[in-house]
Symmetry: C2
Subunit: 160 residues, 2 copies
Amino acid sequence: MKDFLIALEYEGLTSRLKRLSDALLYSTKDLYKSEGLDIEPNWNLIFKLLRDHKEMTITEMSDALQFSHPAIVKIVNKMKKQSYIASYCDKDDKRKQVLSLTKKGYQYMKNLEVYWQNGASVVEDLLVDSPNFLEEITRIEEKINQLNYKQRVLLKLNKE
Amino acid sequence: MKDFLIALEYEGLTSRLKRLSDALLYSTKDLYKSEGLDIEPNWNLIFKLLRDHKEMTITEMSDALQFSHPAIVKIVNKMKKQSYIASYCDKDDKRKQVLSLTKKGYQYMKNLEVYWQNGASVVEDLLVDSPNFLEEITRIEEKINQLNYKQRVLLKLNKE
DNA sequence: CATAGTTATGTAACTGGTTACGCAAATATA
DNA sequence: TATATTTGCGTAACCAGTTACATAACTATG
């Protein structure tokens, strides 16, 4: 059966992006599960952020990833429960929670590297016939950041 | 603050796809809400499917859109509750539910056309500097359909 | 033609995001 | 310095998908 979303062209793109990202997400979860790994999707982002920055707050992470802060809170709390992350209260600003990887976190990260490397290599393979993809999706992200979908549609509607 | 996901290159793509598709999804919902429209994301897909095919079953829709069947069931049930869709039991196969748009459904669809047209036009604008995007994402979808992310990573792991 | 397997659909539980709201701490201002 | 505003973060409720499981109806086969 023909793929209706693809046939829709411009009108199908949003749903295709969701469909593709869901497929990758669930497949990643499935991989972790079948490998018996104690990690969830996007923990890798937090691991890498803290590997590169040593210490960060929730807000800084939410800024760097451009995720809502509750999303970060949820991930971080799970990682704390597994003792991959520790935190202390910033003494200059008591609202802030300063997060960093524990020794256990650093050690566990070593086990994950092989999955990250092969994962990146898979993405590279997926993109090999799509050499402009990364560049072009970056441009789309930039546009959406400047003026979101709703604003753009409203602008068109009001011009009529 | 620099975008960490973009800096991650291959390792950030999956999360960027989700981030982008979520941004579009929530912005679409926001648009519908602020316009007072009685419609949810992806209802448009069902409307269009039934506009083009008159009658379809759950499984046919799930096939055409490549969504899981429970996803279709949920959407269709909501649209039935609003009387945009009616159904009858297939007399040759009593398991099947034959779905079609009601008169109310067709009428309501007319109100939506202007949003669909402008939405498509917005997507066109978003893609104007990304002329290869649609073609290249199609190739990525094809690859994932042939061998999913998990399978690809496992293959690489086992080769080591 | 009885029964084993397959298919269509429904339902439950889960997931990983979001928005909305609240509060305490910090900052700006009158 | 009292008060208004902003900021950091936590929690609740929601949302649109998924997988897993159940059931009834159809199909194929010994």
